[in-house]
């Protein structure tokens, strides 16, 4: 009876709306397969490129009957999305268009139709809720991103607004500012410090959102003698890449403990997120600071040479699978990020697998005197 009811519900909708995506993953395997089958059929039918890729690989969506079959879905290289807008629904159905520009002038465009957007929001809500970051108390926001009032990139505004919906905003402060679009960006350390002091004094929960590298610089600028204590219920939720912080040669764990010590917040309330515009499904560190694979995703790791999945624990390219987006064929994306599935069970208690991101894969340097991509970029810059 239950199964029959389930069959009548769109499996993708159901998957994305699961209330505990990390804890409930083990019970949603079948649902995921049904959702994946449906998504594969949809893209195969509505996207000529995907139809060809499937045909060339001899892949049929119906062959997805068990977890291991997911590896057979022909992957779409994330790099291709920088050059080609591949849609599985008419463009006019786009409810949200996210655009990011690449280093060599390419643009990645991600379109979501209304239904897919709703699923994305469901996924985010489920995850934040499960991790304990949905709060009804008025909250002060300290945002380490470019002030959207003067940024051309609408993505930031959207992301911030989207994240601020999980706790009502009492006040907010963007730390990277400029007076107008023609002025240079400045990291307003003095203003940020003043705002931080004010927020700490006010006693409402504070949420610090944004890019870790800016936050790192801010930590360094804090007066050494001054102690800060973020009010109870505060959180630091970072995202948007570690590259800048990596250059500063600091581990994530060390960074977290520095934040915890200097700002007076438990490390369990400091979380990093992982997201990729093309993939769109959200990941958030658990209380033990691991990225779990939620129910609405599957994460495979592939050997770049053979393109086959590697054994658990081995390093390869991350292959992110999620069926939610009807508008774009991002069902199975082969990323350019190196990573691995952790062989150990996470200490947070959830049994879903966790994965690590080990940085961008690919050559920029050669071993010898042949000119490499790094040399070329340097020359042009």
């Amino acid at each position: 009876m239950t199964e029959r009811i389930l069959e009548t519900i769109n499996p993708i909708d159901a998957l994305c709306a699961l209330p505990e995506p990390t804890l409930g993953r083990n019970n949603a395997t079948e649902l995921f397969l049904r959702a994946a089958r449906q998504a594969a059929k949809h893209h195969q039918t509505h996207n000529a490129v995907i139809a060809q890729l499937y045909a060339k690989a001899g892949f049929s969506p119906d062959q997805l009957t068990k977890q291991e079959d997911l590896a057979a879905i022909p992957t779409l290289g994330v790099h291709a999305m920088k050059y080609h807008l591949l849609l599985s629904l008419p463009e006019q159905q786009a409810a949200l268009r996210l655009t990011s520009s690449g280093t060599r002038g390419q643009k990645t465009q991600v379109f979501l139709d209304q239904k897919s957007l709703a699923r994305a929001q469901d996924m985010l809500l489920g995850l934040w809720s499960e991790q304990g970051f949905v709060d009804t108390r008025p909250t002060n926001y300290l945002l380490f991103v470019y002030d959207p009032a003067h940024a051309k990139d609408l993505g930031i505004a959207f992301t911030m607004e989207n994240q601020m919906r999980f706790a009502p905003a009492r006040d907010s402060y963007f730390t990277i500012r400029r007076s107008s679009e023609s002025d240079p960006w400045e990291f307003d350390i003095a203003g940020t410090l003043a705002t931080l002091r004010r927020y700490c004094a006010e006693g409402s929960p504070v949420r610090i959102l944004g890019m870790p590298s800016f936050l790192f610089d801010f930590l360094a600028a804090l007066p050494t003698h001054e102690e800060f204590k973020l009010p109870e219920g505060s959180a630091i939720l970072t995202g948007g890449g570690w590259k800048a912080a990596e250059d500063k040669s600091i581990t994530r764990a060390r960074f977290r403990s520095m934040l915890s010590e200097r700002l007076g917040i438990p490390v369990t309330r400091i979380r990093d997120g992982y997201g990729m515009a093309e993939h769109c499904a959200p990941y958030m560190e658990c209380s033990a600071h691991a990225f779990h694979v939620p129910a609405f995703c599957e994460v495979l790791v592939r050997d770049p040479e053979s393109n086959q999945p590697v054994a658990t624990g081995e390093v390869g390219l991350l292959n992110l699978i999620t069926p939610f987006n009807d508008m774009m064929p991002t069902l199975s994306l082969l990323t350019t990020d190196a990573g691995r599935i952790s062989p150990e069970r996470c200490s947070c208690g959830a049994t879903s697998p966790t994965f690590e991101i080990l940085g961008r894969a690919g050559t920029t340097k050669h071993k010898g005197c042949a000119l490499s991509a790094a040399d070329l970029v340097r020359r042009k810059s």
Partner: protein, 902 residues
């Protein structure tokens, strides 16, 4: 963690990472080695070591080679086939002394380098040049191609530097293996003492800074990051030599594609990608193809060609980052193919090869590992526009173009920055002396030193003023090179095997080479004295590279040939300039060359080649010279010098003078025969000759002596640095200085047909060292042909003794002489035929002249009167005629000194 390093011949274990103190100690030791003259390898020692290394590494059973084959595929990622090919290239090409000799010769432009001695001297401006090593050179090696380290090391050794090699973290296996093999073959350890190889990260800033401060030169192989890291903060005193980062590409035009066909073109491209898995900086990272359909076709054709390479030279292992990059490319290209805008050829298994169509004209870095963008173009200008920004980094351009357009395209590509423009399919290959990065390699590791001397020394080659010790060192080193060359010849290989090492001291014990030995072992009669041709060593025929074949009369009546290949010939000409300077000839002289040419006769040609190098203006009279001709040239062109055989030039000069008493000749150079005292006096007194100089040469060895302004008669400067002379008894035992002996010649700059102790058939004696002209070498007296002795009337009369007796008076005007032995009814007759400038000119009656000469001879050689009295000699007669009256040899123009008519 402890680690091993090769430090100047020792294996040293470091307990910790290299420190600044270690660097200072290393460089101090390197400086000590550099300063120690006794530790400097000679040229022959260098080539001998390379020979030994080359031979060893060619041997499949050689342990280091076997080990390298076993280990390197896993360490470097290259397939076993590629590693084997690399080791073959090492043994056959990289270590080849012949190729490296050519490299040295081309790149150092004939200026003596650290492996030799002396100068390249230009008397026209008095400039003497020589190369000197930088000193202590650090080589920062790259890990892309494991042979790269050996190339850099060899360049360091050939330039006489002491070399510290910083191994790449990607390749720490092959170099130590190679150095081990080098140390084992380096008998005296003098090469190993000039090499250290160690590992340290470029991030070790203190160590890097210490090397920058302490080294005389730093050679960096690598990308922009490595180059900047080593260049930044380098003191001005340190020479910086950069190899990389370089970008190579291929260009295929529609006409080129039509001429070669798509399949052949694809085969060539595939071979460029297969060698070193595209990792060398010479490999194309993009291929521009004219016409989209052509480009598309080529991508398809590449499938077959690249698959074929998998059998011939399979792709090696791939690292994670490269694989990720190629996977990324394939992902994009798969989508493009599905969209109908792309074309992709990729190995079905793994990432062995990937070729794809890409419309983006801008050059992009390939991840390598046989990954190539095929970029179509419609207009050549568009390609130029696209690659212009990376012009300074362009290196090898592989070109396939139509015959009509090719040169134009090459010009354009060279203007854009291309440094090596090669046919597609040959980008990876090349000669050892090809400049790779826009300049020759060796000069970058050397200092060019310029000398200029006091004006009085302007026309004396600086090497002619070397002291005895320096000359002996020079000769010793040349003997080593001769020994190397001689080992290549069948005859000497056998003799040397029994004999041992050839030195200045041991030379006297080496068996002399007789004329018969020479004839029997010289082509076409034999090849025993011929070393294999450098460029075609397997050629059974005696292939020569350039040079000359001349002939003279053989002892058996058959003509005897003398062979000089190009290198030997050039060495003779180069040294000849030095000899001619000594005779007084100068650049700008207007010279009548009256030597004989044609019929394989060598004198005109060889003198002419030296004249050209010296810079005189030649009037090529040859032996057909006449007094009128000389006079016209003198009047019309201010002819001031003449060269030839006395028997030819003196009559012509006399004729010219008779026609015009104001006729003068400033310089006279003669060879082939002695000149009579009377002629020499006449030249000086009546013709105003300031210089009358003799040059002595041997048909088979070249010049052996000459006269400076201070020498005359039969006294000559020896040229021991070119032909080492010995004066010995008939058994080849050296006679003391001052004693007459046969002359043995050992050729020091003749490598194709080397001669050791060749008895040229002449006699002489050493008179001492030094000369007021400033030259410090030996002086010897030339005593004529060893076989110029006539046996008549129970006398053994040396021709030179008869000549001396004839010349004992200046008043007879004798110019030429011929001795004839005859039989008569009464017994043997000695006849002297004399040419005299006084004969028939009314100054003195011919009869009276003959009587005077006869009296001189009888006084000088009392044995003649004694034999006449005894009756053993029936008669002694004199015939006197004017110059030109004795018959000349039709070919050589010479007068036969002795005629036996019995």
């Amino acid at each position: 963690m402890s680690w091993d390093a090769f430090v100047f011949g020792r294996k040293v274990t470091f307990a910790n990472a290299l420190t600044e103190t270690d660097v200072r100690a290393l460089v101090a030791e390197a400086r000590h080695v550099h300063a120690d003259v006794s530790l400097r390898p000679t040229e022959a020692q260098t080539w001998n070591l390379l020979d030994a290394l080359s031979k060893a590494w060619s041997d499949p059973l050689f342990e280091p080679r076997r080990k390298a084959l076993e280990i390197l595929p896993a360490v470097t990622g290259f397939s076993p086939e590629m590693v084997r090919l690399g080791l073959d290239v090492l043994a056959r090409d990289l270590l080849s002394p012949a190729a490296l000799q050519k490299k040295v010769s081309t790149e150092l432009q004939g200026i003596p380098g650290p492996l030799g001695s002396g100068f390249r001297y230009d008397h026209s401006n008095g400039t003497a040049l020589q190369w000197r090593p930088l000193g202590v050179v650090l080589h920062v090696l790259a890990g892309n191609v494991f042979l790269g380290s050996i190339g850099s090391l060899l360049e360091g050794l050939l330039t006489g530097n002491v070399n510290i090699l910083k191994m790449s973290s990607d390749e720490t296996v092959f170099l130590p293996l190679f150095l081990e093999s080098l140390a084992a073959l380096d008998e005296r350890g003098i090469f190993s003492r000039r090499i250290a190889a160690l590992s340290f990260p470029s991030s070790a800033t203190e160590v890097v800074a210490a090397f920058k401060n302490e080294s005389d030169g730093i050679v960096v192989w690598g990308g922009e990051h490595a180059v900047r890291g080593w260049r930044d903060g380098l003191p001005a005193s340190c020479r910086f030599v950069v190899f990389g980062p370089k970008y190579s590409l291929a260009v295929v035009t529609a006409a080129g594609l039509t001429e070669q066909g798509a399949s052949e073109t694809a085969r060539r491209i595939a071979s460029e990608l297969a060698i070193w898995d595209q990792n060398a900086c010479t490999a194309p990272q993009v291929c521009y193809v004219e016409g989209r359909s052509n480009a598309k076709e080529l991508v398809k054709e590449l499938g077959m060609a690249l698959a074929a390479q998998q059998t011939a030279l399979p792709a090696g292992a791939i690292d994670f980052q490269t694989a990720s990059e190629i996977r990324k490319i394939r992902g994009l290209q798969e989508v493009r193919q599905a969209l109908g805008s792309g074309e992709l050829t990729a190995s079905a298994i793994g990432l062995q090869y990937t070729a794809y169509l890409d419309d983006a004209l801008d050059p992009e870095a390939s991840p390598l590992h046989r990954t190539l963008r095929i970029v179509p173009f419609e207009r050549k200008e568009d390609v130029c526009q696209a690659i212009r920004p990376i012009g300074p980094q362009l290196q090898t351009l592989g070109l396939l173009a139509g015959a009509q357009e090719e040169l134009g395209i090459r010009e354009t590509l060279a203007d854009l920055g291309g440094l090596r423009l090669l046919p597609l399919g040959k980008m990876a290959g090349g000669e050892a002396d090809d400049p790779h990065d826009g300049a020759y390699d060796l000069p970058q590791l050397l200092k060019l030193v310029c000398h200029r001397f006091e004006d009085k020394w302007r026309f004396v080659h600086p090497e002619d003023r070397m002291d005895t010790a320096a000359r002996n060192t020079d000769i010793t080193q040349r003997l080593e090179m001769l020994e190397r060359a001689a080992h290549q010849t069948p005859l000497y290989a056998t003799r040397l095997e029994k004999f041992g090492k050839l030195t200045l001291q041991s030379l006297a014990a080496f068996p002399p080479l007789t004329r018969q030995d020479l004839e029997e072992n010289t082509p076409p009669f034999g090849t025993g004295l011929l070393a294999p041709d450098r460029e075609a060593p397997q050629d059974a025929r005696f292939a020569l590279q350039g040079g000359y074949v001349t002939r003279s009369g053989g002892s058996t009546g058959e003509p005897k040939y003398s062979l000089y290949d190009g290198d030997d010939w050039n060495a003779m000409m180069e040294h000849g300039v030095r000899v001619f300077l000594g005779t007084g000839l100068r650049k700008g002289d207007r010279l009548a060359n009256c030597f004989l040419a044609g019929d394989l006769y060598g004198s005109f040609v060889s003198f002419d080649h030296i004249n050209v190098r010296l810079g005189v203006t030649t009037f090529a009279f040859g032996a057909a010279v006449t007094g009128e001709g000389i006079l016209k040239a003198w009047r019309g062109f201010h002819l001031n010098a003449i060269m030839g055989v006395p028997a030819i030039i003196v009559p012509a000069l006399r004729q010219a003078h008779a026609l015009d008493p104001s006729f003068r000749m400033e310089k006279v150079v003669f060879a082939g025969q002695p000149m009579s005292k009377a002629d020499a006096t006449w030249l000086r007194e009546l013709l105003g000759a300031k210089r009358v100089s003799s040059v002595i040469g041997a048909n088979d060895g070249g010049q052996i002596g000459y006269q400076c302004e201070h020498l005359s008669g039969s006294v000559h400067h020896a040229v021991d640095e070119y032909n080492l002379l010995e004066f010995t008894d008939d058994a080849g035992k050296p006679v003391p200085d001052g004693e007459p002996g046969q002359i043995l010649v050992t050729t020091l700059r003749k490598t194709r047909l080397p001669l050791i102790r060749y008895a040229i058939g002449d006699k002489g004696r050493v008179l001492g060292h030094g000369c007021p002209c400033g030259r410090t070498g030996r002086i010897f007296e030339y005593l004529g042909r060893a076989d110029d002795v006539i046996n008549v009337g129970l006398m053994n009369l040396p021709v030179s003794a008869v000549r001396a007796a004839v010349d004992s008076s200046n008043e007879t005007g004798v110019t030429e002489m011929q001795i004839v032995a005859r039989a008569s009814d009464k017994g043997e007759v000695l006849l002297l035929r004399i040419e005299s400038s006084m004969a028939g000119n009314g100054q003195k009656g011919t009869h009276e002249l003959a009587a005077g000469i006869k009296q001189n001879v009888l006084l000088g050689l009392p044995i003649i009167a004694k034999r006449l009295a005894e009756g053993a000699l029936a008669a002694f007669e004199i015939e006197v005629g004017p110059p030109g009256s004795i018959p000349r040899n039709g070919r050589t123009g010479k007068i036969r000194g002795v005629i036996d008519e019995r």
